[in-house]
């Protein structure tokens, strides 16, 4: 049971760690795939960025 719980804990920590790393090295699509001329001020309200 300890091994099982340790495995669950490890999987959760690894997933959170990966999310932090990926979110650090990647840009939101509203920035990565637009130019300054096309970029909007509030992407969350314009359906092309994080809400």
């Amino acid at each position: 049971m300890k091994v099982f719980l340790a495995a669950l804990l490890f999987a959760a920590i690894a997933a959170v760690g990966v999310s932090l790393v990926l979110n650090t090295i990647q840009q939101p699509s509203s920035i990565a795939f637009t130019t300054g001329g096309a970029r909007v001020g509030d992407p969350g309200n314009n359906l092309i960025g994080p809400s």
């Binding site: 099982f4 495995a7 490890f10 990565a32």
Partner: protein
């Protein structure tokens, strides 16, 4: 003059042959000069009907434009192959998945009814032998727990709209799906790590050999009552599961990597191919794992202990892995003797 033009337009649009010719000419022009085609006509104009154009375009054809934003894929305006891909995801994939998964449940139910639970013929001996060390079980459970979440969150994409949305309503379903998608994306990484570790630690015991043919000929001693065929640490069935996990997991990982980073494949068509591979392998993978879970739990008496506590009953080990037990006894890692000690029934 405007009214005469209007009359002319109506009469042209009303003649099927002329319409077809216009569409064909427009198609030829589009295929020859895709970028320029966008300047030559408007998709909503009467001379070009979008459905005719889409039907006329062959597989692999697409209409592209010129863009100035960094997203190169946005240059694809119309790609008829996308309809086939959408049709596959909405119609064919749920059928493939449904047949594979429900079919497997049905097979296992029939097998349980006909064969019953595979019992230890000599009963529990009360003596244990170490089957899997802590690190092996840890690796198994990391991979297995990730797989279960990946499978359920993946199935939600294919079946959630049909099965869960009507029960939970759109808002709850949307929230659940968003979190499921995040879990799917990030738990894929410990899953891939688990696959690599399992390959390293178990490949030496999973190389197919002549003994496996003998095991298969005798149905593994599981299909029919009687003498169990000899096996080393892993029998042919377990080796099959191992290679399904490794090869299926590798395909899922590669295709999933392209879905996580969709600009790696280079174009939309390649991305669609990878999504199809990911989805089909996933359905078959889930069906295979159902069989694995069945035989490791309710299907076979004493089997779960191998991944539960790590120790299995000596009689169980003798029946299913007789040669492995002899090897372990020779090394002094397992108790010797064959006298079974009756244990109370479960």
């Amino acid at each position: 003059m405007p009214s005469s033009l209007s009359t002319l337009k109506v009469s042209i649009a009303g003649a099927p042959i002329v319409k077809a010719l216009c569409a064909a000419l427009a198609l030829l022009f589009v295929l020859a000069h895709p970028a320029a085609a966008q300047l030559s006509f408007k998709p909503t104009a009467e001379s070009v009907h979008e459905d005719q154009l889409l039907n006329a375009l062959k597989e692999g054809d697409k209409i592209t434009g010129r863009i100035s934003i960094p997203d190169a894929m946005a240059a694809s305006l119309i790609q008829p192959a996308g309809r086939d891909w959408r049709d596959f995801h909405r119609s064919k994939l749920p059928i493939i998945g449904g047949v594979a998964i429900i079919g497997m449940f049905a097979l296992l139910a029939i097998f349980l009814m006909v064969r019953g639970r595979v019992r230890i013929r000599e009963g529990f001996s009360g003596r244990k032998i170490l089957r899997f060390a802590s690190f092996e079980r840890f690796t198994h459970w990391v991979t297995a727990s990730c797989f279960i979440v990946l499978a359920l969150s993946g199935l939600n994409i294919s079946f959630g709209r049909i099965l869960i949305l009507p029960l939970f309503g759109p808002e709850a379903f949307a929230t659940m799906s968003a979190y499921a998608k995040l879990a799917h994306d990030y738990l894929a990484f410990p899953f891939m790590l688990g696959l690599v570790i399992m390959l390293v630690i178990w490949i030496k015991d999973n190389v197919p050999g002549k003994l496996d043919l003998q095991w298969l000929k005798q149905g593994g001693g599981i299909l029919f009552e009687g003498q169990h065929p000899p096996a080393r640490r892993f029998n042919a069935g377990q080796k099959g599961i191992f290679w399904i996990v490794i090869i299926g997991g590798a395909l899922m990982s590669v295709s999933g990597w392209f879905l996580l980073f969709p600009y790696l494949p280079g174009n939309v068509t390649a991305l669609q191919v990878w999504t199809v591979i990911h989805a089909v392998i996933a359905m078959l993978f889930i069906a295979a794992m159902l069989a694995h879970i069945y035989i490791g739990t309710i299907g076979m008496e004493g089997a779960f202990d191998a991944m539960g506590t790590g120790e299995v009953d000596l009689n169980w080990a003798r029946e299913h892995h007789s040669l492995w037990v002899q090897e372990e006894q020779a090394k002094g890692h397992a108790p010797s003797g064959s006298t079974p000690r009756p244990m109370p029934a479960e």
